[in-house]
Subunit: 229 residues, 2 copies
Amino acid sequence: MAKRAHSVQRREESLSRERIVEASIQLLDSSGEEGLTFRALSERLSTGPGAIYWHIANKSDLLTAACDAVVARTINETIVARTPEATIRAVALGLFDVIDEHPWVGSALTSVPGLSPIVRILERIGQQIRALGVPEEQQWAAVGALMAYILGVSRQNAANGQLARTRGLDRADFLDAVSTAWSQLDPKEYPFARSVAGKIRDHDDRVDFLAGIDLILRGIGSPRRRLRP
Amino acid sequence: MAKRAHSVQRREESLSRERIVEASIQLLDSSGEEGLTFRALSERLSTGPGAIYWHIANKSDLLTAACDAVVARTINETIVARTPEATIRAVALGLFDVIDEHPWVGSALTSVPGLSPIVRILERIGQQIRALGVPEEQQWAAVGALMAYILGVSRQNAANGQLARTRGLDRADFLDAVSTAWSQLDPKEYPFARSVAGKIRDHDDRVDFLAGIDLILRGIGSPRRRLRP
DNA sequence: CGTTATTGTGGAATGACATTCCATTTATGT
DNA sequence: ACATAAATGGAATGTCATTCCACAATAACG
């Protein structure tokens, strides 16, 4: 389908994969993951569901395409910093922020492993790990850990944000709720949870996120004590 | 609803939250996340959907309950090992394996943060971090990083397994597909992905997972060089 | 310039799903 | 026995992704 080998647009205001993906991104951003329905999409594009299916295989395909478009933008925009560590931090923070802004990206990333968006990220981080001088047999573990951490935390962070929004709480109220819930746990069974309950209330997710990145980077550099030249 | 203050079961073979949750777990395990429908559930329990709604608020509630049940089992079963690091590894591996066996647990964990299953895990790991002598102001970062890593990787691993099963590939074929896809990427744009493509083919997910855990543990112990007494 | 394939469109139809409603049935306290 | 509350199960509702198909616009060819 859609073989337009050497042909121009068939109709002036015609449908196209790009137009559909763009509309999907807008829909996802404004109404969240559940806001992307074929009904809403066809209304926005003033057409029928059938026409959309001519350009796109199914909803999952659509989600992947939207996800790829957004990730590709960020990964390419991220500025290259001075040191490999700084670059990794920048890439990580960039992803954290995109996923925070487009929470649906988090969920979509899991579904198609080994493909576009994931590979882009892998490549970017992998090059920095190489630049750090990590021996080749340890590179895979290092990149794997970083990616899992970055995607895992960003995703969870985005999910929390969405949950709070859904329940009509703002961030402060939400954290307050969690904090009080934890501090009311049984002191014998949950001493640790109680002890950190207070810290939850006014923590900065981005700071915590970066702290974790540094932790992993330190672990990567640690055995050879080679973190900085 | 369901106030049974000082009453016994009303009917012999009656419905109950537990029976419903148990059936849901079986259904989820046998037919995956999409296999849990109220239709299938009411058939298995030989009742109607309405009866189920008397005991359970909605599907999300049901999923959370099932998730909690499974996680609680594992967390409590996990043996306490000699050192805190070993215990953390054991807990981590335990979770990795449960999520691998019940892939739906991974997805369900994200949806209700700050509540039961998450807190159980947090507590368990937190206690070990304390035992490691990590200063209190760094405990939150350490536990957060570990949890994000454990849940993130386990989840992705389970998702991969499911994806492979859905597409009717076995693990080897799947890895092979990814590996060849990566090795056919543009060498200029994707040098790193190409370089690790080969390693993908015969790697052990559990080993990689533990390598990441060790990386983080090393990072936690590193600044004070206190990993082992 | 007209005819015919091909490529695209959009609306109606299908079947699965979560959830709600409500007329009944069952147990418990009086 | 009888009243009341707890439970039940099946039918009804509305939304969703996806498929189907009659049709329109374009290109390809004579």
